[in-house]
Every structure is written in C-alpha cells, then in structure tokens.
C-alpha cells in the first residue's frame, strides 16, 4: 500500500551544549518531565497524527534510543506495513557513509523513501517538546500547493539562535536566514519540514560540499530555484531544549505553567512513554512534597519542593531537594541538600552532602567527586 506521508526523524544529534547529560546518550534520549524522553514527543505526535511510517535516522550513541524505541509498540507504530525503521550509517561499495549534516543523512537513506514512495515527506527532529498534529501542516502544504513547507513558531527572544523567516501575506517565504545577527522577523523555523517527495529528491541531488543541512543549504537552494516555500505557523507550545538552561526551564514550566503543555490533560492527545512495571511511588511519614512531580517506583522519605523526579529514585530521611530535576535511579543520601541541580541517571549523592547551586547545574558522579559545594 502506498503511503501518503512518511516521516524521517533525525535522532543523531549529539547535543554538545547539554554537557554530561548527553555524554553517553543521544539527545532525544534525554529524560524530560519525570517519565518521558524527548523522543516521546515526536513519536507520540506521529501516532496522534496517524502517520505510521517513520525512518529513525541514528548516528550518535544510538544504542539506548534503539533499545528504547524497539518496534515502536509503545506509540502504536508497530504496524504490518511501514512502522519504525532504524536508518543507521552504513558502509557501501563507495566507502563509509558517515552522515554529514541533516540533509546529507536524508540523501543517504533516500532508498527508504523510495521504497514507500509517499507523496510527502515529513522531516522531523527527535529532540523537540511540542504536541502537534502534523496533518494540519501537510494539509496546509497541499492546499497552498507548496513544494516545501517550513513549520514555524513565534519566538519571544533570542531570535538569533534560530532560523528566521520572512514571508509575504500569503505565508510564502521570501527569505530564510540561519542564526542571523540582525533578525528580520520573530518567526523562527522549528526545524521541521514537509517536502513534496519529488522536490526533495531534486534538491538533494544537487552538488554540495562535505557537509550539508536543511537550514543552511536546502531551504536557501529551494528559494534560489524559485520553489514554492511556504510557512505553516504553529501556535502551540514549542521548545527546542538545546542548552542546560532551556532544558531546565522547559521542565520547570510543567510545574509553573501546566497550561502550556497540558501534560495532565492527555485524553485527546496523549504523550506515550514506555512504562516500566513499577509500583506507584511511596511517600513516607511526615514528608513535605510541594509543587513537585514524582514518577513511579520512587521512595520518598525527605522533603521536596518544586522539583521533578524520574523513576526509581530514593530520597532518604532528612534529605531536602529544591528546584531540581532528578533522573532515574538517583539516590539522595540522608540529610543531603540539593538545590538547582540536574542530577543525572544513577547518581548516588552521599549522606549529609550539600549541592546548592545558584544556576541549574549538572550533578553526576564526576561532579560529586569534586566535593560538596555551595555557592
């Protein structure tokens, strides 16, 4: 059966600015909101959009992600025709095909697209936080008769961090600048695209340098060739959590502004995540737990304020946690105080230690070895 739309999801990003958080895992596998991983959002969006065919393009530290996604059954993507395919770098007759840039990666795996021969290809990224029905964007693409459609959102500040788009009244893109010093507008690319398949093939077949990307190379080329490049404005909540600070903020928004992502209203548009057979968490006697989210399998004997806890965390007696993110399997020893930390998976904080930071700071075994600190 021929597919109308298939998705290509980039999950190879290293996320260098996330420091040790992505030391051994790809950015899309970074925990979020207690029990999620970043990749859950794009896969849930696909599921909720009834798009059941997706190529997952991996590169950096793919193991954790691949074993997490498996056949995609968590997101109902384990269908008989289509479903999830992992597209890994491979070796050919012509030599190694290490992926160099997002567009380069798609070109390498174009055989996958040809195999399904869809009308439209959706290019997505595995590390964004948003709830989006992609059909609306594809519908827009079809309706305006575009060759390429860029998903875009309104930025509040730091517009120079994004690809900035200038459009005419008909949402047709006039110019596109990646990370401009002087942004011409506040309309930024989300880094997601709909391409008519044949247009995508044409554009990718061009001559490029060593390394080529959608934002840097393909979109400017499309504009230069006078292709119809349109914009689909997404008005929902959208975060690209590329830095420690933005990752921390997006997490805390779940507590402070639950109306943004509406995580607890999940009936119509659920975000699926793989569940891990844990009993509900247990909060012991006389603990204070306020403005906090706690996942399954935790045992809480200390006090927690304004924090998000992943699964299987133990907080021992008398520990005090404030304004922090705790990743799975963290153990906080008796009487320890943690403030403003992102405590990485499996970290054991020894008893009676103090890690109080002025700014969100990653706390892992390495950092603990440097000794308790307060600032």
């Amino acid at each position: 059966m021929r597919k109308h739309v298939i998705a290509m999801v980039m999950v190879g990003g290293r996320g260098t600015r996330l420091e040790n958080i992505t030391k051994t895992t790809a950015k899309p596998a970074v925990p979020f909101g207690g029990k999620y991983k970043l990749i859950d959002f794009v896969l849930s969006n696909l599921s909720n959009s009834n798009i059941d065919t997706a190529g997952i393009i991996t590169q950096y530290e793919p193991h954790e992600l691949m074993s997490y996604i498996e056949h995609g059954s968590t997101w109902d993507l384990d269908v008989n025709q289509g479903g999830i395919s992992f597209l890994t770098p491979y070796t050919t007759y012509n030599g190694d095909l290490w992926q160099k840039g997002t567009a380069h990666a798609i070109r390498q795996h174009f055989r996958y697209i040809d195999q399904h021969n869809p009308d439209y290809v959706l290019i997505l990224s595995g590390d964004h936080i948003y709830k989006m029905d992609y059909n609306k964007m594809v519908d827009h693409h079809v309706k305006v008769g575009a060759d390429v459609t860029i998903g875009a959102f309104q930025v509040q500040k730091d517009a120079s961090r994004y690809g900035i788009i200038e459009t005419d009244v008909n949402q047709r893109v006039l110019s596109f600048e990646e990370k401009p010093k002087n942004p011409k507008s506040s309309l930024a690319s989300m880094g997601i695209y709909v391409f008519s398949k044949d247009v995508l093939k044409q554009l990718l077949d061009d001559e490029y340098g060593e390394h080529f990307d959608f934002g840097q190379d393909i979109i400017p080329l499309a504009l230069a060739r006078d292709k119809h490049v349109s914009v689909y404005r997404f008005n929902g909540y959208f975060r690209d959590v590329g830095t420690i600070d933005s990752l921390y903020k997006a997490n805390m928004e779940l507590l402070d502004n639950p109306q943004f992502l509406k995580l607890h209203e999940y009936v119509d548009f659920p975000i699926y995540t793989k569940s891990s057979n844990l009993p509900p968490h247990h909060i012991g006697k006389k603990c204070i737990v306020k403005n906090t989210m706690i996942s399954d399998g935790c045992l809480i004997l200390g006090d927690i304020y304004h924090s998000i806890l992943s699964e299987r965390i133990i907080v021992e007696d008398g520990a005090l946690i404030r304004d922090s993110l705790l990743y799975p399997d963290v153990r906080i020893g008796e009487g320890s105080t943690i403030t403003n930390a992102i405590v990485l998976e499996g970290t054991h904080v020894p008893p009676e230690s103090r890690f109080e930071f002025a700014e969100p700071t990653v706390l892992d075994a390495e950092r603990i070895a440097e000794g308790g600190a307060s600032s």
Binding site: Y36, H264, H282, I283, G284, K285, I288, N291, M293, D296
Partner: protein, 803 residues
C-alpha cells in the same frame, strides 16, 4: 523451557458485593495501578510458564480488556501462550473453586498441551512466588498433589501431573469430588503434600481484606516482598504523566499513581491513576481508584472509591476497616442529607403478617429508621388491621382513584411506629376483606393498590427512592414513569420469585397506561417490575447468582440476566433480641465465654423431648416449614441408615405438607429413641432447639436467604446446610486442613452427601471437641444482624440515588 501448564481459576464467587458487579475479582484494581490478576500472571511469567488458560466466569469483558493478547506477560506466543476459556454450560453456578466439569468443557485444551505438570492457581491472590520452587518440592517429595499454603491460608493453588488431572477431568461425572480442594480433603489414596510459601500472601475475597491488603502495601517490608526487582509485577501499559503535588499538598505514608494531581491531604492511603484531590480535602486510610475526583474540603476515611467516583465538596464519607465505605463506579457522593425512602408492600409486621415478607418489611423499615433514614411504609388496610388497630390509626383525607374507567374511593390512615411512618390505604372495594390474598381478583386488587400509591405520591413531600417488594407492588415503576413523578428512582426486591402476578393484559389498560408494548395476552407483573425498576435486589448474593440460572430463576431467568448489572444481593438479618446471653425463653443463658452452659440447654432439650440425656450424643435440630423446598426428601432417604449406624438424636419442630409429615412420623416410629418430632408450632418454642441442639439442619433445595441458620450460628449451634442461596453466604464450610469455618456444607442435592456431611460433623463433635468449640465460637461471632442488613440497603439506596 518449562514443563508446567497453568490454569488460572477465575470462576469462583466472592463477597465483594458491588465491587464485582461490573468486573470479575481478577480485574479488581490493586495498589493503585495494578489489577489482581497481574500478580498471578506475573508470577507465571517469572516462573517461565508459557501455557496459561484462564477460566473466567460471568462478566469477563473488563478482564479480557486488561489482559489483551497477554503480551505484557510474554504470553503472546506461536506455541502455547494465553487462552481465555469461557463457560460453555450456562447451568454451572460458581462455587469456591473451578470444577473438573468446568475443565472438561475445554478438554481439548488439556489434550493439546504437551507439558507434563499442571499448576492450578487463582486470579485473586496478591503474592510473589516462583512456581518452579513448588514443582521442585513436589518432585522431591514424590507427591501426587502438592497444595500451596501461606501460614494458615489455603490458596487454591495446586501442582499435579497433567496425566492425573486428565484422569479426574475425564471421569468428572462419576467422582464424588467436584474440584481439587475436595479431592485433597477426601481422596484417601493420594499422596498429598503442602508447600509452605513464605512471604506476604493474601487472597482477596471480601471488602475488608481488599482494603486491608491495599493498605498493607504501605508497609515497606511488605511492599518490598511483593514488588521485587528481580521478580517484577507486570501490568497493562497506560499513559499518564507523573503524579503532581501542588502547593497545599500534605502526604503521609501513601502511594500515589501516575496522572494524579494532589493539592489536599493524603494519609495512609493508596491512590490510583488520574485522581484529583483538591485543596482542603482529606483522604485517610482509603483506596481511591482511577479517575476519581475529590473536591475541596471533602473528607474520606476507610473508604474504597470505585473508578470515576466524585466526592462533592464538604462531603464526609467514613467507614471502618472491617466495613469500608464503598462507592460504585461513577457515583457522585454528595453531602448526605437524610434519605427519604418510601416502602410499598402488601404486608408488614406488626400490622399484618402471612409470611416472611411481613417480617422483613417491619424489621427492615424499623432498622432503617434507627440508622437515621426517613422511612414511610404504605400497605393496604385489610379488615384484620382495622379490627386490631382501628382506634390507633389516624384518619386522613380521602381521594378518588381512576381504575378501569371508574372512580373508586380510598382513604388514607396513618400511624407512627418506632420512627417509621405508616400509611394504610382503605378501599371498601378491594381491601376490606377477611384475608390478605387468595381472591380471584388479586391481580386487580394489587394493580389498584399500585395505582392508588402513585396518585398518593402527589400528597407527600418528594421521596428519594421507592423501595418495592415482590409482584404486588411491581407495577409501580411503570406507573411512576407514566406519571408526573417520572424519574423517581425505584428498587424492586424479589423475596419470592414463585409468585409473579400473572394477569390478563387488559390490567395495563385499566391502569390508564397507553404506551405499553404487549408481547402476549397475559402480563407478568413481576417481570414488568424487573424490566422497569431502576435497580433490583434479592435477599442474598448467592441467590442473586442462582436466579440467573433456569433451575432457580425459572421463566424470569432471561429478564433477570438482562438486568444483571443492576441486580444486587443483600442478606436479611436477625433481630438483636435473638441472643443466647439474654434470651429469656431458654433454660440457661450463655455466651462465647461460658459455652459450657450451653450443655445445660442441651440436657434440658433432651429431657423435655424424652430423649436419653447424653452429652456425647450429637443432637441435630431442625425448625422448618414442612415443604419440599426444605430438603425433606434427602432426610427421608438417608436418616434410616444414618440413625441405624450412628449415635445421633434428631429434634424437629415444624408444620406443613401432610404427606411429608406422615412420612416423618413413620421415620420417628422406626427410631423412637432417636427422633422427636414436634409438629405444629405450639408444641415447643424454637429457641429450645436453637439453644439446646449441637447442630442445626437445613438441607434446602433452594433457600433465597434463610433465617434459621443465622439464629443457629448466633446460638453456637453449627449449621449443616446445602450450599445454596443465603445458606452459602452465611455458613462457611469446615476446612479440615485449616480448621476454619462455622458449619458444614454439601453441594449436590443428594441424600448420600447429606448423610456423609452429618457423619463428618459427628466425627468432629466426638473426636475433636476442641475444634468443635472453636467452630462454635466462630459461629457465634458471625454478624448477621438486622443492623448490618439495613446498612447495606442504605449504601445501595445511596448508590442508586447518587447515580
């Protein structure tokens, strides 16, 4: 590769009342996000068992939905895997364990499986066990059957070779044991072994241990022994974000599941998924199931909230650990105002009585009044009531009632009796007669009564619910729906299904109902009530189940099956004045702590009856109407043998059918020194028998509720009963392995089974006096009080009114 197949028994019945009205026990939520069957299925999975057959009973949709293909427990396999094997035979009423007969229905499953051993276990056990350890021990000791027990709890879990099991299944119709439990107890030639499981284990059979074991999970050492890292408990995957605590949350020793939002106080409680607890609300010692909503300043204690319950703001809901407050799915609990309940019946004690119905109406309404319910009772004013109560009744206004295109005059009389408001309807045309029933125009009389009551509703403050009883009042829901009181809720209680009020169809026209669809030239008034009442009930949980089978439910089986989800069973109770410690009629008062005084009552009974006064002879008592239903065929067919071979005395009190009476007299003549009949209720007082006998006989063919066994229990006289109806719900069979129980039961309506059960009782009585004493004490502790019965009705009223 594992060499065991597993049979998961989900056929048994339970005492979980409304919690299992919509689901099987296996599908009950547990510890927030699990279902009971998750424990058994996960244990099977962790024991590498890959061939699992679940035998469900009743409504297994919810279970099916939960289990799916069994993937969660690695049971979606090419070879073997998960099988759900529903009943093929509609006539098997659930017992205490899956029968060989039930397995025989799916004999091909057993034949096709190639495992060498069979594990039988149940869907309602909370535990964590490796069945390989059981099999290893089974093989080491070389047993035929190994039973798994935890402390003194039998878990209905067994291992035996498949070959042996097949032998029993294939010969099920010639065996005297129906299931493995009975087999282990009775089969003398089997090498049985008991495997003692260590680690927390509970079988969930009633609302007390359901709440208790949920709260047990809050004790670390218990929780840890159930939820182990290396033996995980798997459950269906659900999508919910982590639980969230807002700024007013206060949590003390509680488990909270995903998706919940807590802004109130939670103490010692287990909270399911997606529960909202608002600011100021307090949840204490409770189990709250998924999607419930607890509004501001509501207060819960010892409550089990079924899914999607809403507790409105400022509502106080309290139960006790022994008797938790239980809501029904989707119930909206508001601040409890005084419920206004209207009883409509054909008779009520103390004004008029022809049978048990009058006792129930009188006692239940009085006890409801005591528990704070505003109760009004309406019955017809028969001549007999006029004769005895005329002066006390207050004459009220009259009214004309249109019936069959004619106006009939009625007048209302009122009387206040122990917090209950009674109204009597006078009608010279219909009720001014000598007797209550047995007139050719009975159907017209009671149809008219229904019409009069509906018209009279205009005069009363609105009621919250109308509780109607038997066919005499069964047209009320239909009439209410065709009146301006449409929407008023009704509960129809079936006390006696034998009388149904079959009438010619023009009764409906006489009542002025025009939109009725006739299927026949006759109507069945009880059936119309069953089809139209808001909810239905009968007088015991087991009888409720039995009525769904034609043997008991007769022509109304299918009408009742259609209302299965609205059908409840609530036991009647006995008056608190029936107490051996205070009963003025008996020879010597006694209680649980001076049981030796009961012996004086026994000696007195033996003496009065002219029987040999011997302490070590078992005295079997019976107080009963002499009718076929009460099991006299079994007595007449087995007592000659029994009395010839065993030392036992039989004292009977009752009256009734002439031919049975004659046969009983013949029996007495053959055993003059062992039987004493008192025919006719004047001969002696029943209390002598209840106090003086050692055991009390009720071998009924069917028994909707039964009061005799309740009185016997209260007096420490162990009931010997057939396992049916209310007898099944109040008498717990003596278990020779755990020494638990409060009486003796047999299942088949069979003279031989009766005889063997009496012989078993004689044996315990003579050989194990300490065990007998324990059983007596346990019997006397049973609570079958009217108060308990009335409070169950109050819960049901609440659930009906609030839904």
């Amino acid at each position: 590769m594992n060499n065991m197949l597993a049979i998961v028994d989900a056929t048994f019945k339970d005492n979980l009342d409304q919690l299992t009205l919509h689901r099987m026990p296996g599908a009950l939520p547990f510890a927030g996000k699990f279902r009971l069957i998750d424990f058994t299925l996960s244990n099977l999975r962790n024991s590498d068992i890959t061939n699992v057959a679940i035998f469900p009973y009743g409504n297994y949709r919810s279970l099916q939905d939960h289990i799916g293909s069994g993937k969660r427990w690695d049971l979606d396999r090419r070879r073997d895997g998960l099988f759900i094997l529903p009943p093929k035979n509609l006539y098997i009423v659930p017992g205490n364990m899956i029968t060989f007969q039930r397995m025989y229905e799916h004999i091909e499953y057993f034949r096709r499986s190639n495992q060498e051993y069979a594990l039988i276990t149940a869907a309602n056990i909370v535990w964590n066990i490796d069945f390989n350890d059981v099999l290893a021990e089974h093989l080491t000791v070389g047993a035929d059957i190994t039973e798994v027990m935890y402390e003194n709890i039998r878990l209905k879990t067994f291992i035996l070779s498949k070959k042996l099991l097949l032998d029993y299944i294939l010969s099920y119709d010639s065996l005297e044991y129906r299931n493995v439990v009975e087999l282990v107890e009775k089969a003398p030639n089997l090498r049985t072994h008991i495997y003692k499981h260590q680690g927390y284990t509970r079988t969930i059979t009633d609302s007390f241990n359901y709440l208790k074991s949920n709260l047990d999970m809050l004790r670390f050492e218990i929780g840890k022994s159930i939820f182990k890292d290396d033996y995980p408990i798997f459950s269906k995957e659900k999508t919910a974000p982590p639980a969230k605590y807002l700024s007013n949350a206060r949590i003390d020793n509680s488990m909270v599941s995903s998706g919940s939002i807590v802004d109130g106080t939670v103490i010692n409680s287990v909270i399911g998924r997606d529960v909202t607890i608002r600011k100021g609300a307090i949840v204490k010692n409770s189990f709250v199931m998924a999607n419930s909503f607890i509004e501001e300043n509501a207060h819960l204690e010892y409550a089990i909230l079924d899914k999607q319950t809403v507790i409105k703001e400022h509502t106080l809901v309290t139960g006790t650990l022994r008797r938790p407050y239980i809501t029904q799915k989707e119930q909206i609990v508001t601040n409890q105002e005084r419920q206004r309940i209207l009883f409509v019946a054909s008779e009520s004690y103390p004004f008029i009585k022809t049978g048990g119905l009058a006792d129930v109406i009188g006692a239940l309404s009085r006890n409801l009044g005591r528990l704070g319910i505003d109760v009004t009772v309406i019955i017809p004013l028969y001549s007999k009531i006029k004769d005895s109560f005329q002066e006390s009744l207050r004459r009220e206004e009259g009214r004309s009632i249109l019936y069959d295109n004619e106006y009939f005059f009625i007048r209302k009389y009122s009387y206040r009796y122990k917090k209950v408001k009674y109204y009597f309807i006078e009608s010279h045309d219909f009720f001014d007669r000598e007797d209550v029933y047995n007139y050719p125009d009975d159907v017209d009389r009671f149809a008219f009564f229904n019409k009069a009551v509906v018209d009279l509703l205009d005069d009363f403050e609105p009621f919250d619910l109308v509780h109607i009883h038997d066919w005499h009042t069964a047209l009320l829901p239909l009439l209410i729906d065709n009146s301006k009181h449409q929407g008023l809720k009704t509960l129809l209680t079936i006390h006696n299904i034998d009388y149904q009020g079959v009438a010619s169809a023009d009764i409906i026209k006489k009542l002025g109902v025009t939109n009725f669809i006739f299927r026949d030239e006759y109507i069945n008034m009880l059936e119309i009530g069953i089809n139209t009442a808001t909810k239905l009930s009968t007088v015991s949980p087991t009888y409720k189940e039995e009525l769904k089978y034609e043997y008991y439910g007769k022509n109304l089986t299918y009408a009742l099956l259609n209302r299965e989800r609205d059908f409840y069973g609530i036991l009647n109770g006995i008056s608190s004045s029936l107490n051996p410690d205070t009963d003025k009629l008996i020879h010597t008062n006694y209680n649980r702590n001076n049981l030796e005084l009961k012996a004086e009552n026994k000696a007195y009974l033996q003496q009065t009856m002219g029987l040999a006064v011997r302490a070590d002879t078992l005295v079997l008592g019976m107080v009963s109407r002499i009718v076929e239903q009460k099991g006299f065929d079994l007595i007449l067919h087995s007592f000659d043998d029994l009395l010839n071979e065993h030392d036992v005395q039989f004292v009977f009190l009752g009256t009734g059918d002439a031919s049975y009476t004659a046969e009983l007299r013949n029996l007495e003549r053959r055993h003059p020194d062992k039987i004493k009949l008192n025919i006719g209720y004047d001969a002696t007082v029943p209390n002598y028998i209840y106090a003086g006998a050692d055991a009390f006989l009720m071998p009924s063919r069917f028994e909707p509720c039964g009061l005799g066994q309740m009185i016997a229990l209260k007096y420490g006289t162990l009931p010997i009963v057939r396992d049916t109806g209310g007898l099944a719900d109040t008498v717990f069979k003596y278990d020779p392995i755990t020494k638990k129980g409060n009486g003796f039961k047999f299942f088949n309506y069979d003279a031989n089974e009766l005889k063997h059960t009496i012989i078993e009782a004689i044996h315990i009585f003579r050989e194990e006096p300490d065990v007998w004493t324990q059983l007596m004490k346990r019997a006397m502790k049973s609570d079958n009080s009217l108060k308990r019965s009335a409070s169950r009705y109050i819960d049901l009223y609440r659930a009906i009114i609030e839904n």
